[in-house]
């Protein structure tokens, strides 16, 4: 049987800090408007 190996809780100080003001990437679609929007 495959037992899931317990993963030691990552020590607090090891967590990668999120940069302040982290913005999600722009949505992939719709794309840019090249002329104007009707």
């Amino acid at each position: 049987p495959v037992a899931k190996r317990a993963v030691a809780e990552v020590a607090q100080h090891d967590k990668v800090p999120r940069p302040v003001g982290f913005l999600p990437p722009p949505p992939p679609c719709p794309g840019k408007i090249r002329h104007f929007k009707i």
């Binding site: 992939p28 679609c29 719709p30 794309g31 840019k32 408007i33 090249r34 002329h35 104007f36 929007k37 009707i38």
Partner: protein, 259 residues
């Protein structure tokens, strides 16, 4: 372990733009009426893998009408997109492509074009003239008068009307009808046509010579008519896309579907 699925394509990714370029070229190359369309926005893209180096791509495109008639040999890159004030016409297209070993080909396309709403234009530009119906009596009168005027003055071939592209009617400061229409040279000189116009037929595809005319007819308070017709010269027709082969008027109404 199967390769992890590639991240979904963004609408502004180079691969998406390459697919859109192939799609727009196909749409313009297979359209027989109206004007060329340019890409305004990639609304959405969906890639469905079919196997190794074989994808089906579904594109949703937002296009805008340009000032180049579809029969014009002008490269699309040199065609100006009609401005909002000129009463723009938008095209919404769904296109299915295949990318096989990196080569893109269009499997199907369906487009719907529609003119911008008159209310929107008047709201932002009260003096901008709006598109008139191509069946409007004044429009037909202006086109007939303009073509007749050109044929009565030219020393070149007698021209026949292929289709009316667009028309506008303004009432201020003068009652003015502005029209744009596509024409084709016939096998007659304008002089010979005066004797027997029925004998004047469009040239066969291998000699066809299309052109485009713009005209402005003022009917009140004064009378004036200005016509400018330019022939494109003989273009080698693309074999699988028959050019127009008969005289007569067909209308390219914005708001038409093409597949």
């Amino acid at each position: 372990v199967p390769a992890a699925p590639s991240a979904p394509l963004g609408c502004d990714d180079p691969e998406s733009e390459a697919a859109a370029e192939v799609a727009v070229s196909y749409i313009n190359g297979h359209s027989h009426h109206g004007y060329k369309f340019a890409l305004n926005r990639i609304e959405n893209i969906r890639v469905v893998p079919q196997g190794l180096n074989n994808d089906i791509i579904f594109l949703e495109l937002d296009l805008l009408e340009t000032t180049c008639h579809i029969l014009s040999p002008t490269p699309l890159a040199n065609c100006t997109v009609r401005s909002f004030e000129q009463h723009a016409v938008e095209g919404d297209c769904d296109v299915k492509l295949q990318r096989l070993n990196g080569k893109l080909s269009v499997l199907a396309s369906k487009c719907h074009s529609r003119a911008d709403s008159g209310e929107d234009i008047i709201q932002l530009c009260p003096d901008c003239p709006l598109l008139a119906s191509l069946n409007n009596t004044e429009v037909l009168t202006a086109v007939t008068a303009a073509l007749s005027d050109h044929n009565s003055k030219t020393t070149d071939a007698y021209l026949r009307l292929i289709e009316i592209g667009r028309a506008k009617i303004t009432s201020y400061p003068a009652h003015t009808v502005s029209v744009e229409f596509a024409v084709a040279a016939t096998n007659c000189s304008a002089k010979a046509a005066k004797d027997n116009v029925e004998a004047c037929q469009l040239l066969p595809d291998d000699q066809s010579n299309f052109g485009f005319c713009t005209a402005v007819m003022i009917t009140h308070p004064s009378q004036d008519l200005r016509v400018d017709c330019q022939l494109y010269g003989h273009q080698v027709p693309t074999p699988d896309i028959p050019f127009f082969s008969r005289p007569g008027v067909t209308y390219s109404q914005p708001g038409q579907d093409t597949s």
